[in-house]
Symmetry: none
Subunit: 200 residues, 4 copies
DNA sequence: TATGAATGAGCCTTCATTCAT
DNA sequence: CATGAATGAAGGCTCATTCAT
């Protein structure tokens, strides 16, 4: 992970101001995108002066990394807590929860898909590493389920990818399902069913 | 569809130079994104002088729309030719073809997911309308398959969306499956199987 | 007078197209000013293609000269017909007419005051010469009136200037007298009275 | 009055740099006109970098307003000090002074007549309001003179307008009286006489 | 003569970044 | 640590003018 240069040493202040920055920047990037958000706007929204912001970052791009890093935590937070399941019913329950959680983080996920690639190679790699860990964990569960005879999955790696992707689909597909007559609940049920069919 | 202003009347010239523009701009937008591509670069790559470019468009954003519109055609071109299928085997064959075709348009699809939202309301609507037509067509086939007893699909609308999305997943997932040890063929087979399981 | 270069030789065509040009350009310059009127607008309004316009002028500035020259004719046309007067009553009558005429050419006069100075020295001189002739003519009448004992004017040159200027004042002052509660007729009467007081 | 946007908060700096801007811009606008003066020239002449200029204004047009506003102050400054007069002799003395003052501001007045109309509605209104106040003040004095029996003016409103305009005439007429053989003193005397004749 | 596409310098404005205070 | 004025390169876009057809 590329270390963001900072000249600030007072630890509490650092944390506070970085939080202010991330909150402001997340909103702005979600709303207008990285390239269309100016440092002046960030300064206004965060309450830090432009000059001071540059005490916490080396260049504007660092903000993009900061915000991604922070969002990843939120997006994957659910999985860090709830990934344990012992049978298919528990998996189904887990998936529903994951979908609901995804819908809550819809904007952030969209932001990730839209803006991450603007980061340079190095920063990008480090972010993708996190996702890979998440997928591998899921694959581990699927392998185990296969072994236990609970599931009968042909290719657990592809399936793990498929599940993770299906989940984010809810967020990404937003613009196309807009005006969809189905209720959110029914939509989630359908998607969960689709996934479940592939595990047995 | 938003009419793109042009000062040129010669239809042949419009066609030729807009093609030059689209070719240049597609590469540049894929590479650097819309906001980071300058009119000067576009001028160089397209071989048209800046002033002349503005004889064919009203504003830079028109290029974004043009390139999307053009890509849509490419991406959906496959479906316009091959959507007819009469049994599940033919559907499986069609899906394989669609996946292969998608991989060819990988870059363009990525571009669409990353940059489309930058478009203004009007242009956006017009593009989404096209996609909706495509999905509705697929839904029609699924409904018919249900009626004929070939398939047994619970919610054809969600399934149609699901299929379309699965297809583009191949393109979007690029960065995550990078380094994946599976061969492309095997990957496609797995994804097709996943889809097929949901139709019976 | 600086000759405007022209490559066109067919005399009738020349006259027609120059008229089209002048009419279009007068309206546009009055409305938006010289610098804010583009050749494209002139082309559209006149019905001549841009390229063809350049068969009649050497550069855009020539249009400014053309339009001034043409307007001068209109503005001073009244004086060419009506300057003869034999007593103060006839002068008073003449002045009223001049004021009314001025109001009709209000826009053109404004244009002259606002845009003439954009012309280079040479063109400017030639235009001012015309006005000087007009003033001298008026001065001649005043001198004669003095000699005849009809009037008793101290400085006929300044007075002639004063009269000419008073007349154009009606046009120039437009923006300040806007919302003036007086009727136009009464305003003219007052101004004529002011002038007349200075002749006896 | 349209508030001119500024990003700078330090009042002293605002005053200093706006003054630099006005000084530079007045010269340039008088010389070449608003539309023909580029921001680059303004930057050079004022000593402020282009970017910094935009810390003190919102858009180029603001400079036109600023310079007008500033000139108004100069042009009317004389009246703010000297408008008191108790008899016709004092009025005559005041008028002479006003004429001399006007000649000093010749260039500025020309600028006003030539460029004011380029301003947008809002800015224009605010400038005309200032002039109206000035004319009304003069009208007040004339009304009072009428009441006191010092003067005998038929229409004080038109007369007030007339006087104000006669004064600026000296500036506007510059190009026409150029080469005039009269001395400036004698010219002023004549114009004052013309005005005085209309007050009794 | 007439056409209108092509040229490219130049316009106004914004922006990330620096640095004296 | 914090401030915010200053920098100037770079951005999108317009325009008078030319010239091959």
């Amino acid at each position: 992970m590329p270390e963001i240069k900072t000249r600030v040493t007072n630890q509490k202040l650092i944390r506070e101001n970085r939080r202010k920055l991330i909150n402001a920047v997340t909103k702005l990037f979600v709303e207008k995108g990285y390239d269309r958000t100016s440092m002046r706007e960030i300064s206004q929204k965060s309450g830090l002066t432009i000059g001071n912001i540059y005490n916490y970052i080396g260049k504007k791009e660092d903000l993009l990394f900061m915000v991604h890093d922070d969002m990843m935590e939120g997006v994957y937070e659910f999985d860090n807590i709830h990934t344990e399941w012992r049978n298919l019913n528990e998996l189904r329950y887990y998936l529903k929860g994951a979908f609901v959680h995804t819908l809550e983080y819809k904007k952030e996920i969209l932001l990730m898909y839209r803006q991450t690639w603007l980061l340079g190679e190095e920063a990008l790699e480090s972010l993708l590493a996190k996702e890979k860990v998440h997928i591998l964990k899921l694959k581990g569960f699927l392998d185990e389920a296969n072994k236990k005879g609970i599931a009968k999955i042909q290719d657990t790696e592809i399936t793990a990818n498929f599940i993770v992707y299906m989940i984010s689909m809810l967020a990404l597909r937003g613009w196309s399902l807009k005006g969809h007559k189905k209720s959110q609940g029914k939509l989630i049920d359908s998607l969960v069913s689709i996934i479940m069919k592939n595990l047995v």
